[in-house]
Amino acid sequence: MVFPDKATADGLIEAAALSEAKGRSLWSDAVGRFRQNKAAVFALYVLIAITLFAFLGQFLAAYSNEEIDWSRLGNIAQTGAPSFSNGHYFGLDDLGRDLYARTVQGTRISILVGLVGSLIAVVVGTLYGAIAGYAGHRTDNVMMRIVDILMSIPFMFVLILLLVMFGRSIGMLFVGIGLISWLDMARIARGQTLTIKNKEFVEAAVATGVRPFTIILRHIVPNLLGIVVVYATLLIPGLIITESFISFLGLGVQEPSTSLGALISKGASQMQYGVIWQLLFPLFFFLATLFAFFFVGDGLRDALDPKDR
């Protein structure tokens, strides 16, 4: 940016410094509010623990997730129960594989699906919504009608259609989840952009001749971040449920890889044979992850979303 003279430049730099100081205090305010929410802080610790478990847990495993323990196969109900002495901390699954290693790997897939999906939502949805909101008029109308139309498509069915026609793979699952996860985010970002674009600093940017796209990236998107972070966090459990749902039906991740949904499905189908641990361990990690994300998201919303204050 070229400033007309030094005084204006100094003034602008000062103003920028001021707004930066204010911006920082806004975030530190938010951190303070988040810290006061005990449930959210606890959930955050749980989340960190689960993430560590998912990404480092395999180093503690005595077996890999596809090794079959032939000595116990065929008699899993009696000999496959969880035990520390034989290294199967969570017991064995129905094919004699170590459930601990499989739970670690399943949790990892579930968390990855949630993170990647919401990352796509953040990038695509925020940009799409910000552009639509900033452009306004007919562009906005057309862009948001497209979102409306995509939203009324029964996406779970289309996702399964997609997985069946193009082969089941984790990559396809990411693509399918990415295709829809950004829709809500686009709506939220657009709504927020509509209020931001009438603020003075945007007017100032327009007056100094900043190009529209730069305004969106430099002036609007940073101001959307609070609400975007909140909804991205709240989106993650939804995406984890989606992936687990697909895997529960047997249409998601393929063997020998697994995910929490697939493990729950297996455990549920085996539970009448006295191997209840096959259901309980994956279920515990699934629910703990979901609850943790819900509570952290709720805490973030209370801390960051000005609407609910």
Binding site: R145, D148, I149, S152, I153, P154, M156, F157, V158, I160, L161, L162, L163, V164, M165, F166, G167, P237, I241, S244, F245, F248, L249, G250, L251, G261, I264, S265, G267, A268, M271, Q272, I276, L279, L283, F286, L287, L290, F291, F294
Partner: protein, 307 residues
Amino acid sequence: MFSYIVRRIAVAIPTLLILVVISFILMFAAPGGPFTSERPLPPDLLANINAKYGLDKPYWYQIIHYIWNVVAHFDFGASFKYKDQTVADIIKQGFPVTLTYGFWSFVVAVLVGVSLGVVAAIRQNTWLDYLAVGISVGAQALPNFVLAPMLVLVFTLWLGWLPGGGWNGGQWPYLIMPVIALSTSYMASIARITRSSMLEVLNAGFIRTAKAKGLPMRRIIWRHAMKPTMLPVLSYLGPAFVGMITGSVVVDVYFSTGGIGLFFVNSAFNRDYSTMMGITILVGALTILFSLVVDVLYAWIDPKIRY
């Protein structure tokens, strides 16, 4: 009002067309056709089969032909896998089942959810409120595919009260667990929405006026607070409906109720494209119809809405 409905329908139709076109594009773009198998068929045989199902025609012709058949004759084409069944037959067989337990789930979710929410709001910050909020937070994070096995574990395996699956013409013992599994998480969301909405309404000026006039609380709640409270609930019913249709897949698979979801999953495993597409499009049409009804109801209840 009338022009609003017309305009909403005018948006709904292209949405459905887009859904049809997307499904077809997926099918055309998919590697391998529906009749590709591990032992490849002789080319002339394959050409014959493709001709029988109309797959040799140009893409645009297939799409228009399909839409015309659906609209004019409710004909979704023949199943690619079950030679003696059309997709419409499959839908006619499975749909009444889905509709039965879907209807009851919807009723349970709305009735229980709304009452729970209202009670929690009226008795705010008492143990009743905390209990209701606790239940709804817990139930919301319990997806139906987790709840279903847990229900079977408790009520079938441990207590032995209810059959673990089957349909049997929809007798109520067979209906209970599917309905609970399907409705619980939506019941929880509805309770949460009702509670916060009711709290907001109870703090509004017109309720204070009603109290000042000395109206009994019961009458205030029913006559004055209920209608504005229901508005956010109403707008949630659209997503809830979609979720229940999707959840019916789990219910059908887990409880073997024989609804439309079972056929959908089976056709997914068999690469039976025509059945999958038929069900997807039917579900899409229902979804769009339902959100249309909800929007119109909303515009009718809320005088502030501009249409």
